[in-house]
């Protein structure tokens, strides 16, 4: 599997993501600067990492979504290549129209930086196939704007098409409101595109890949991707 990690000014999790791909998926990613106008040839997965691209000016992800490289990433996604956006990366790919909905200010208005529990909602995706539906993962979040919003019709479509990848949940795996760190609709933490090849999620699986980090539950995502070929 060949992975490219997109680097925008203000991004800060790109090296964590690279380390996770290196240690878990056994592949050394290439870094792609946002002003590049072409993607490296032969990428199977484009990873848009977390951080604070452009200082979250205007709206988180709004500026990055119009970077030159994003045009190429949209094109690559249309051609069926795999794209994953985590945290700010999720905000960026939503702003760019790769996924439906928007990430709004946390309902608590507070920046939330702690471990949360996630229920794996589907193993039917290249990103989650190493998990079983119903698995409960402990993974950190670190965001101010992770409150997923989409209109009711879109939410129904996401549910109907089994496109919700992860939900915030209680220790038994139930999506209880009290375990939702940001007010996201229907406790949604991560979603898939219609062709299931684009994933956006707020929590940071790349920061839960080693017991030293408090949890290695995020490793399954990188294991799922290890044998990926676009």
């Amino acid at each position: 599997m060949k992975v490219g990690i997109v680097v925008f000014p203000g991004i800060n999790r790109e090296r964590d993501a690279a380390a996770a791909f290196r240690t878990i998926a056994g592949t050394e990613p290439v870094m792609i600067w946002h002003r590049e106008t072409e993607l490296p040839a032969g990428l199977d997965l484009i990873f848009v990492p977390g951080g604070f691209s452009y200082g979250d000016y205007l709206r988180p992800g709004a500026m990055a979504a119009h970077s030159p490289i994003m045009r190429e990433i949209k094109k690559a996604a249309d051609e069926g290549r795999h794209v994953a956006g985590v945290c700010n990366g999720f905000q960026i790919i939503c702003e760019a129209g790769l996924l439906p909905g928007a990430l709004m200010r946390n309902a608590s208005l507070k920046f939330v930086c702690r471990d949360v529990l996630l229920a794996v909602e589907t193993s039917n995706s290249p990103f989650t196939r190493a998990y079983n539906a119903g698995d409960v993962l402990q993974v950190p979040v670190a965001h101010h704007d992770g409150n997923y919003f989409a209109d009711e019709k879109t939410l129904d479509i996401l549910e109907g098409e089994d496109r919700i990848a992860f939900r915030y949940c209680d220790p038994e795996g139930y999506a209880e409101e009290g375990w939702n760190p940001n007010g996201a609709q229907r406790n949604i933490a991560g979603i898939l595109s219609e062709n299931r090849r684009v994933l956006g999620m707020m929590p940071h699986p790349e920061n839960a890949v080693d017991p030293l980090l408090g949890s290695s539950d995020g490793a399954g995502l990188f294991k799922s991707l290890a044998s990926l070929v676009s």
């Binding site: 709004a62 939503c94 928007a102 709004m104 200010r105 946390n106 608590s108 919003f149």
Partner: protein
Amino acid sequence: MKARIHVTLKPGVLDPQGKAIQNALGGMGFEGVDEVRQGKYIEVDLTETDRAKAEAAVKTMCEKLLANTVVENYTIELV
């Protein structure tokens, strides 16, 4: 020509910041504040002198960048 753009959350979209402002106003003793919605105000100075062209350009700016039309509405005023 100057464009004055207001970007506001669509009705029905939760606005926790507006809610916090409303609570603060209540705490300060201001009565009768039914609801507060927070938005953004953006000014864009344009070299375009043709009103119709300017309006069309600013509308495209709003659709593409200044507003996220999934959750926000916008209004444009040219002065």
